[in-house]
Symmetry: D3
Subunit: 320 residues, 6 copies
């Protein structure tokens, strides 16, 4: 066996795919982000959801189904484990009985992560979690550009009178000054709402809203080129709600909206983020009870891997 | 809270989405169609099915999963509850032990509905039900144009020697003079059959048959423009068999045929019916036991909502 | 059709079992408890759960599966709808983003119910809900005897530092003086814990703890005779956690403990409460995503019906 | 390999259990009952069901899951394939669009079977089918004793105004003089009903009704001894509704009633029929969509095998 | 009923779709390929799989779900049963405890098949099986052109040190000289790997590798035209791994890779093989436990039917 | 927080139950058994199964569902983590493509474990694995007494001509002299077989076979007393096949036999092993795809915990 400079996923020729540790990609785990270039971290939370529950089990199932992932990206040639030190640092100990406290626990936890020079890739969990992450991101990087892939704008001022819920994170992040407003992109929005303001609120703040209907029947590679040009070298956060995908592709989620993105478009979006100055990523809203096959989690795991492949510093693989 | 002129769906800020009444969109229910512009009505029937059963539970699951639907259509701007009085009038009490009697019960029930000036939107139920509805429609409106979205032509003369079955409704409707034959459109047909006559019988009567293969890899918006031009201001009935969609999008149905329409095309078809003189609509063949996630029913609920959004008299929403 | 003095469940000869309203037993619904002797009410909540989620959907699935229930109890002869006016009054609008607020919403809602002379039968929802109900019960009836059927004692002082969670309701109820301590019975407790105090805390307060092992291989009819003798005519609250049953009988729940009660014992317990001065009952912790067949909810519906059958004033049916 | 005098199930050492023909026990199939002592026959019907559908797929899944059955009965020593010629003769071609016609098709089909000197073991299908079988049985054997294992009495005069439905077969069989009334046993009845007559109607005709509650917590071997004594050498038909079992044991059925028989009792009942003059047996109401694991069908297959093991003429196995 | 020259699938007007024999398309079965032009044969094997198991049950579920297939291809006009004698010859009795022995059993079994002038259509089973089939094919036809539709190249030299596994068949077939290297096409490859060699190894041998990304957003009809031109009249083997399809279309498989082909492309590929000199086909890797709805198997059944429709000698149907 | 002398399971007040490491009981993991008194180890294998597959995923799901287990046994008072150092040492890297090699890998792996003074508790995996474990056990402890809980005797000489399969381990162990024949107990055997020898072969060697029928309707506590008296202080191995339980309790397994043990009996058996000189234990045949709820694995996890609680040296907990 070759000696590697960096952590490697446990390979299928050393342990059957269905054995071995249940960490992301069967990577080594460690308790903190120390010494890492990138880390996978789970937030097992669903108390911010407004319809079907279950995302609390998302990180577990994503890790489980990530077992098939091999180190090399056949489409792009990226070989992340030849360029970055990566590990799985486990889960954030949220308080499942108090959403507001959990939000603060998350911010504090990410402060701890970001004390190291590391890029966190988060396994959700419901979308409430992006707000507290962005608060910690801002403390380190200042306001960021945002690529937000989702069926919903998540910019409600309140849900049921509450400021903290999975439909509100980007309103809160805006209020907290976490975002560079002319570099915010919301892709895949659709469905029903309470009125045009659901999408226009962001537009009025300078955000670019790409409704799902604009994406139908075509490649999103041109859109991503445009987005890259606008973002330039600003720090970028990528937040990917699995419900951006049409439920044909990702049935295991809680607030399903038909007419969504395809998985091909999803891959184009993430791959289209290559070259950007990514400072953090998340993949949220996988709800295992609604897809017992595990395929939704498996797709989530693949998208997280694709995010890893486009982080700054990741290059092609060497000849094998 | 604003006072509304018309019935409104119970909102998620008044009752969590997973609570409240199990009516279509959590609308008020009432026993008759009196005073309504449009009504949702269920026909819990599967004794007309020839392969997998389960559509008897379709109306229940469609109503259950409709709970996420909000009043405003983000894509089209339609705001049906600002323009129409809508309610859920419950289910038709079919005789589940006798298909032939059920067919007459349905016609009689729709006569009762159509005694009011109302457009019925039907939650199926197997496709047998469209024939008895069309009989009642004809009594009020005369022969109608038909937009029939389906994997199957449903024009068998007989199945197993029977005239009443879910593969025969449009043969029967033709015989009963319910249709304007040069304004009949069958979209999404495909799969295997007993011979070319399965699709050509309709063509020979002047119907336009758009096989699924003609739809692959493209938008159906142009097709709908063409259809609108041909139909003009004739009264139109829209019947949507969920199995028209490829099973990737709608796995929970009984007579599955691969190679079907996409959900994007499905939405284009229904939205493309805007401006027509719709006098009735149905969504049939959702079989809950074959999709425990509920997503097929949820898609059915969305399509029914989209039908509501294109009814005559539905306009845009006012500023919120 | 006979004219009935009281509300009747919609019968299978008037509407197929799979049609009709999705209320408990297909009873009429009404917005308040006014004029009722007993009412069914749902609390769609799971944010108090510590392991698997899903009980937020419990009331919906219990109502759905209650559709098979006919009015007469073949085993006991009870005919509740000949003696009581019963209806389904819908769901409590809990705040799904804040457990502590929800607890107060529930108490307030039950104050409203108990302003009428009615016995509430609650469809849960996670077990956190029993505490706020007991607070309202105490305001009307003073402290009550308690029959608590469960796998867990639910007397934790805190969970994750919180006082409100589904493992704490009876500690809170004790502190609030809701219970007559020498008339508290916990039946079916078992599994793993943090130490003997998990069960002994109650014993030290005078409660009778019947561990599951004491119940194995025998009828619980004698136990219930003993319990009735001790309770006498004190007001009694019956709280039934579906996880008291072994998971063979009730797989669809969140904190599963093997080695539990049988359904025969479960029925003996509820039927054994006949003659007591019941002032309220609940059935909690049904989690639909963990039993897509619906059978756990169906069993929950049956147990709720059996509770109705033992309420004060319910007698045998008249000759038919 | 030994040469056998009779058909043998295909063994696991000749073809993996998950391969080979999908016949009952992987026995040879033949188109008629000619030359057989016993035959398995399917009736793929569910249009007589009043709640959940799916029994139309029962025969297919029972056959599929019967693949694990080996020839020798370890508990009783019975070796049916050393004493009887047995085959699977396929399915009755019912008319799935007309229940009343199907009933006549079944009777006619069984006349054909009974033209041979053979005992039919029927794989259902909904319970409606027992009536038309009993009509054919009567033509050959005269009225018969009946062992009827079920959650329901199935003696409704009508359901929804219909005489033919899965809740009526024994009323019809009684009217047609198919039964020896003082030798009719209904075991396992329970649940809710419309009044005491649901169980008393049979009692008034001399039938013995053993409610489920009488069976709880004990062996049914003594009951079967009593039944055998009463029946003596009269011809007997055994009809086994899988819903007689508690849903813990048989979740995959349509009209579930908690508090049922155990599988141990179920086996005691069938094994307790040894020595009787059985002339026919059926196993009905397995609904595959409600148990995707296949276990309910597997239990049904085992019960059918146990029925085969108690047919007249079946003895012990010879030394191997 | 018309007399047919060839075997016909049992029609839905003679036996309900959910009854009848569980053979492919409800065709007659026979023990050998004698007298047949084409035969369906199952290989119930999953011991070559490296991730999720279950393909051992593939042939059973494919046959079960093939029951809806009617004889005539509505899209292409092909009427295979008017031109070919076809039957189902059952399963290969693999040794499920020894993969290496199974491989030899398969080759020997196909030698037996190919002793007749017949084209085998194989129901898998894991992809290991294509190698032993190709060995037998080569003995009869010499090296063949290959159309290989898959998510994976399956050209590993070893897996876990083994030469026989479902990731190695085409490496082995290459080594055994089974392939015409300039007429090998691999379509749909994608996902992660150990390095570029995973796809380049074939390219270095002259194979054409069409990665999934090349297929996105377009029709594959032009590709197939190109392939037909290159292959000319060489004998061709078509091997179709269901995981070539995106998991949205075929969730029930074991080594899932997002971003795959659509079912429309899948149909275009198979239909695009019309006119080629096909000498054998297989459809592999359907894993029933991962799609309890049966839809993946149903799609597999349809693809096998489409393969039958493009075999040499199959023409259009005659007027009915 | 208290400082503990030994490893402790991660508690629910430090990390929500649905977060944290996926090790057995969320214990620390370590690569070898060094320094441990007992260890959990997984064998992810199903290539020895003869019917349904899936046990390869058993260890993963058992670990996942073990997350609810708390340290103290409420029924017995055992507090294993106050007396033993326990960890999860991961999985045996079996060769999933070669069963015979896997058997040797297992023996070699357990030699490594047993080089330490530790008791292994194995998470299966199919039952083939007990033979290679017993070979390693014998090398250290000599022949052992055996408590074998199962639906099947697993003493076939061959399956499909093979000596290594999940139906053969105890024949092999016998031949290898691993067992003290007058101290072998097989409990729960039942179902169908090829002849009486299936159970009598063991009896002829002095083994005690307790067929399931002997266990029906009663406690097994007396049986265990008897077994303890016979075994005395001989070293004992406990092997628990989850299919010993009736499928009502453990649906998720591959070779289901109705009429099995209850979970109460299962717990009595394991708890009845307290005081014996246990040198190893396993829990095998959990097949996750056949119980998506996870309950079968959860029961397996509980039984493994109960085994831990009866290991030599485990005492009661101290006052908390």
């Amino acid at each position: 066996m070759t000696t590697h400079r960096f952590n490697q996923p446990l390979g299928g020729n050393e342990m059957p795919r269905f054995g071995g540790p249940v960490t992301m990609m069967r990577l080594p785990s460690q308790p903190t982000a120390e010494g890492l270039d990138a880390c996978f971290v789970g937030i097992p939370m669903d108390i911010g959801t407004s319809n079907r529950p279950g995302t609390r089990l998302g990180p577990r199932q994503i890790r489980d189904e990530s077992r098939m992932l091999r180190p090399y990206n056949m489409a792009t040639g990226a070989a992340p484990f030849e360029h970055l030190q990566v590990a799985d640092i486990g889960d954030v100990p949220i308080n499942t009985f108090d959403l507001k406290k959990s939000v603060d626990i998350i911010t504090e936890f990410y402060r701890g992560i970001l004390a190291h020079d590391v890029i966190p890739l988060t396994l959700g969990g419901d979308h409430t979690l992006t707000w507290p992450i962005l608060r910690a991101i801002k403390e380190k990087h200042g306001p960021v550009a945002l690529i937000h892939v989702d069926a919903h704008a998540d910019i409600n001022d309140e849900m049921f009178g509450e400021k903290v819920a999975h439909g509100c994170p980007f309103r809160r992040a805006y209020e907290d000054g976490c975002l560079i407003n002319d570099k915010v992109f919301q892709i895949g929005l659709r469905g029903t709402g309470y009125g045009p303001a659901d999408f226009d609120w962001g537009r009025e703040r300078g955000w670019r809203v790409v409704q799902a209907e604009e994406c139908w029947h075509k490649s999103l590679t041109p859109l991503m080129a445009e987005i890259r040009a606008i973002i330039g070298d600003a720090p970028v956060y990528l937040t990917y709600d699995i419900d951006s995908l049409d439920p044909a592709f990702a049935p295991g989620t809680g607030t399903v909206e038909p007419g969504g993105l395809t998985i091909w478009q999803g891959l184009e979006i993430v791959r289209g983020a290559a070259g950007l100055n990514l400072v953090g990523c998340d993949l949220v809203e996988v709800s295992p009870p609604y897809d017992p096959s595990g395929n939704t989690a498996l797709i989530g795991a693949n998208l997280l891997y694709e995010m890893l492949c486009v982080l700054p510093g990741v290059g092609k693989g060497h000849a094998d």
